[in-house]
C-alpha cells in the first residue's frame, strides 16, 4: 500500500482496564478479535487509513493500559492527540462510573479542542447490560462528547465509531483552517454537535 495521505490524526484509546480497548483497535485496524489477548502494558500502536469527505486520513491510534498505575506514562501520549475514544463496558457499571476520571485526565493533559467520543463497548452482551444507552447518551450530550455503542467481538459499529470521530476531527480541522486561510469547498461543520445519530457523508474506508 502506498503510504499517502492528506491528513494524519493521532487518536488515543482510553478507559478502565478490561473494557476492550485493544480489541476495538484490533477490529478496526486488522479486522481481528483476539479472545486470548493479554493486558496492554504501557502503550501500543496501530494505524489505518480511511477516507473522509474525499480526503485520505491516516489514523494513528495509541492504545493505552487501563490501570491507574500507568497513568503517568500513558498521559504523555495525550499530547498531540486530536481525538480520544473513551471506552467503558456496558456490562460493568464501575467502568462507566470511571468515565469522569478519564475526562479529568484528558482535561489535564490533552489539548482543549480534542474530540472525545464516549464508547460503550461489548454491546453484544445484551443480557448483561448494566449501563443504559439513554443514560450514557444523555451524559455524552451534557459533556459535549460524541457517543456510540460498539462490539469489538461482533464488529458492530466499530467502523462507524472511528469513521465518526475522524469525520468530526477532520471537519473541525477544516473549519479552523477555513478561518485562518481561504480553504475553498469545505462546508462548515456542525461544530461540537453530538452527532451519534449522524452518518458520515457516504465516506468509505479505503484500505487495510
Amino acid at each position: 500500500m502506498a503510504d499517502e495521505y492528506d491528513f494524519l490524526f493521532k487518536i488515543v484509546l482510553i478507559g478502565d482496564s478490561g473494557v476492550g480497548k485493544s480489541n476495538i483497535l484490533g477490529r478496526f485496524t486488522r479486522n481481528e478479535f483476539n479472545l486470548e489477548s493479554k493486558s496492554t502494558i504501557g502503550v501500543e500502536f496501530a494505524t489505518r487509513t480511511v477516507t473522509v469527505d474525499g480526503k485520505v486520513i491516516k489514523a494513528q491510534i495509541w492504545d493505552t493500559a487501563g490501570q491507574e498505575r500507568y497513568r503517568a506514562i500513558t498521559a504523555a501520549y495525550y499530547r498531540g492527540a486530536v481525538g480520544a475514544l473513551l471506552m467503558y463496558d456496558i456490562s460493568k457499571p464501575e467502568t462507566y462510573e470511571g468515565v469522569n476520571r478519564w475526562l479529568n485526565e484528558l482535561r489535564e493533559h490533552a489539548v482543549s479542542q480534542i474530540v472525545i467520543m464516549l464508547v460503550g463497548n461489548k454491546c453484544d452482551l445484551k443480557h448483561l447490560r448494566a449501563v443504559s444507552t439513554d443514560e450514557a447518551r444523555q451524559f455524552a450530550e451534557e459533556k459535549k462528547l460524541l457517543f456510540i455503542e460498539t462490539s469489538a467481538l461482533d464488529a458492530t459499529n466499530v467502523e462507524l465509531a472511528f469513521q465518526n470521530i475522524l469525520t468530526e476531527i477532520y471537519r473541525q480541522h477544516a473549519e479552523q483552517t477555513t478561518l485562518q486561510a481561504d480553504f475553498a469547498q469545505i462546508k462548515p461543520s456542525q461544530g461540537q454537535t453530538i452527532s451519534f445519530t449522524q452518518q458520515p457523508d457516504e465516506s468509505k474506508s479505503s484500505c487495510c
Partner: protein, 453 residues
C-alpha cells in the same frame, strides 16, 4: 549389547539431554537420527532398523542407559508414571555417571567403518554434547548435594544456564529462598510454605481490597493465554492467591499489571518435575498431587517476592525504576551504535514507546517462555542486580539484534515491528547469543558508567 531390546523399549520414553539446559530431544528421536545416518536396509520396519543401528553404533546408550532404565522403571511403578519430587532427582544415578561418560574417540572409531563422514562427525558432535551436558549436571549436583551449598560456586555454574531438572532447587537457593545449609533446609522450607498458606487465609478472611482484587481477577485469565496450562482453574486460583497476597503485603506498589506475567516462569519451572515427556505447557494440573500443588504455589509466591524485592521501583507510583532503566538503555545504545539511536530519533521514536514493556515485564512479552526461563538462569545468578542493571544490558543487546531491520524502517513500521518482534521460534540458542553480548557490553561499559548501577 544383550540389553538392547529392553533399552530400546524403555529409552524411547527417555530424553537425551540438550546441552543448554533444555529438556533436549526425546531419546527416541535422537536414536532415529542416529538410525538415519546408517545405510538404510530397504524392507525393514522402523523398530528393526532402530535396534540394529543402536547395536552397531551406539555404545553411549549401552553404557549410560542401564542405570537410567532401572531408575525410570522403579519410578514408574512407584508413582504411576509420574516423576518423583525434584529434591531426590538424580541422586541415585549421578555417582555412576562419571564412569559412564562416552569415550568419544572409541565412538568415532566404531563408526569409522561406515562410509559416512559427515554423519560420523555429526554423531560425534552429539556425543560430545551429551558428555558436556552430563558432566554439567554432575558439577551442579556436586554443589547442590554439599552439606552447605557453596552459593558463589552455584552462581558461577548457573550463569550459563541451569539443567532443567535441577532448576527448581538452584533457583530457590540462589534467590535466597532455600537455606544453603542442607540440615536446616527442609524445616525452614516447611515453615515458609505454611507461612504462605496462613497469609492467604488471613488476607482472604479480612475484607477484600475490591479495586486490587478486581484488577487481579481480570488479569489472571489474561495471563499467558496462549499456554494451555494457564487456562486451568487450579492454576488460575493459585495465581490469584499469589498475586493478591503479594499486593496486600506490598502496599507501596500493590498489584501492577505485568506482575502476573512474572509469576509464571516460577510456576512453569516448579511444575516441570511433574511432567513426564510432554511440555509443561500442556500439563493437566489435576494430575499433580494436591500437596505438591500447594507447595509449588507457596514456593512461587516466595520466589516472586524475592525477585520483586530487587525491582520494587519498577512498580511504585510513577514507576521511577522503569524510567531510570529506559534512560540507561538509551544512553547505552547511544554508545553502542549512535547511528541506530539517531535513526530512531529522526523517525520520532522515543525509547519509552517500545522499551517500557521490556522493563515492566522483563522482556517476557517479547520472547517465548522457554527463553525467559533461560534468561532468568543468568539473572538469578547475577544476584539482586540481575533483574535490573544487567537486564538493561540485555535489552541493549536485544535492540542491537534487530538494528539492521530497524535502520531501514520508518516510524510506523518500526513501532509495529518492535511491538511484535518475530521471536516465536526462538530457542535458548538465540537467547544465549543475546546474553553473551549483554555480558560483553557490561564488561565494556560498566566501569565507565557508574550511573548504570
Amino acid at each position: 549389547m544383550r540389553r538392547q531390546p529392553e533399552m530400546a523399549e524403555v529409552d524411547r520414553t527417555e530424553y537425551v539431554f540438550g546441552e543448554n539446559g533444555g529438556l533436549g530431544a526425546p531419546s527416541s528421536s535422537f536414536f532415529r537420527r542416529i538410525a538415519s545416518m546408517a545405510p538404510q536396509p530397504s524392507d525393514e520396519d522402523e523398530s528393526d532398523t532402530f535396534q540394529r543401528t543402536v547395536g552397531a553404533g551406539y555404545t553411549y546408550a549401552d553404557q549410560i542407559a542401564p542405570n537410567k532404565i532401572k531408575r525410570t522403571k522403579s519410578r514408574q511403578d512407584k508413582h504411576k508414571g509420574r516423576r518423583g519430587s525434584y529434591f531426590d532427582l538424580d541422586d541415585d544415578w549421578d555417582a555412576n555417571v562419571e564412569h559412564n561418560l562416552v569415550d568419544g574417540a572409541k565412538f568415532k572409531k566404531s563408526l569409522a567403518g561406515q562410509a559416512m563422514e559427515s554423519a560420523e562427525s555429526l554423531a560425534f558432535a552429539e556425543c560430545e554434547e551429551m558428555n558436556n551436558r552430563i558432566s554439567r549436571i554432575r558439577r551442579f549436583q556436586a554443589v547442590l548435594d554439599a552439606p552447605i551449598v557453596d552459593l558463589a560456586h552455584l552462581k558461577k555454574l548457573s550463569y550459563t544456564g541451569v539443567p532443567e531438572e535441577l532448576r527448581p532447587k538452584t533457583w530457590q537457593l540462589l534467590l535466597g529462598y532455600l537455606a544453603p545449609n542442607g540440615e536446616r533446609r527442609e524445616r525452614t522450607l516447611a515453615k515458609k510454605r505454611q507461612e504462605y498458606h496462613n497469609g492467604v487465609q488471613q488476607v482472604f478472611n479480612t475484607g477484600l481490597d475490591e479495586q486490587m482484587w478486581h484488577q487481579i481477577s481480570i488479569d489472571v485469565p489474561r495471563t499467558n493465554p496462549h499456554i494451555k496450562l494457564y487456562s486451568h482453574p487450579i492454576i488460575q486460583k493459585a495465581l490469584e492467591r499469589i498475586l493478591y497476597l503479594w499486593a496486600i503485603r506490598h502496599p507501596a506498589s500493590g498489584y501492577v499489571q505485568g506482575i502476573n506475567d512474572l509469576v509464571t516462569p516460577f510456576i512453569q519451572t516448579f511444575l516441570q518435575p511433574h511432567v513426564e515427556h510432554a511440555s509443561v505447557d500442556d500439563l493437566d494440573p489435576e494430575t499433580v498431587p494436591q500437596q505438591s500443588m500447594r507447595d509449588i504455589e507457596a514456593d512461587a509466591y516466595w520466589c516472586l517476592t524475592k525477585l520483586l524485592d530487587g525491582i520494587q521501583d519498577n512498580y511504585i507510583h510513577a514507576q521511577p525504576g522503569i524510567h531510570k532503566q529506559v534512560a540507561q538503555l538509551q544512553d547505552l545504545c547511544t554508545r553502542l551504535d549512535r547511528n541506530l539511536v539517531e535513526h530512531l530519533r529522526s523517525e520520532g521514536i522515543e525509547f519509552m514507546q517500545f522499551s517500557f514493556r521490556w522493563m515492566n515485564c522483563l522482556l517476557m512479552r517479547e520472547v517465548p517462555m522457554g527463553c525467559t526461563i533461560r534468561i532468568w538462569d543468568t539473572y538469578i545468578s547475577e544476584g539482586p542486580q540481575g533483574f535490573s542493571a544487567f537486564h538493561v544490558y540485555v535489552c541493549a543487546a536485544f535492540l542491537n539484534y534487530w538494528k539492521e531491520q530497524i535502520k531501514v524502517k520508518d516510524f510506523q513500521d518500526i513501532m509495529v515491528f518492535l511491538q511484535a518482534l518475530p521471536t516465536a521460534d526462538w530457542t535458548e540458542k538465540e537467547v544465549e547469543l543475546i546474553l553473551s553480548e549483554a555480558f560483553l557490553f557490561q564488561t565494556l561499559y560498566k566501569t565507565g558508567s557508574a550511573h548504570l548501577k
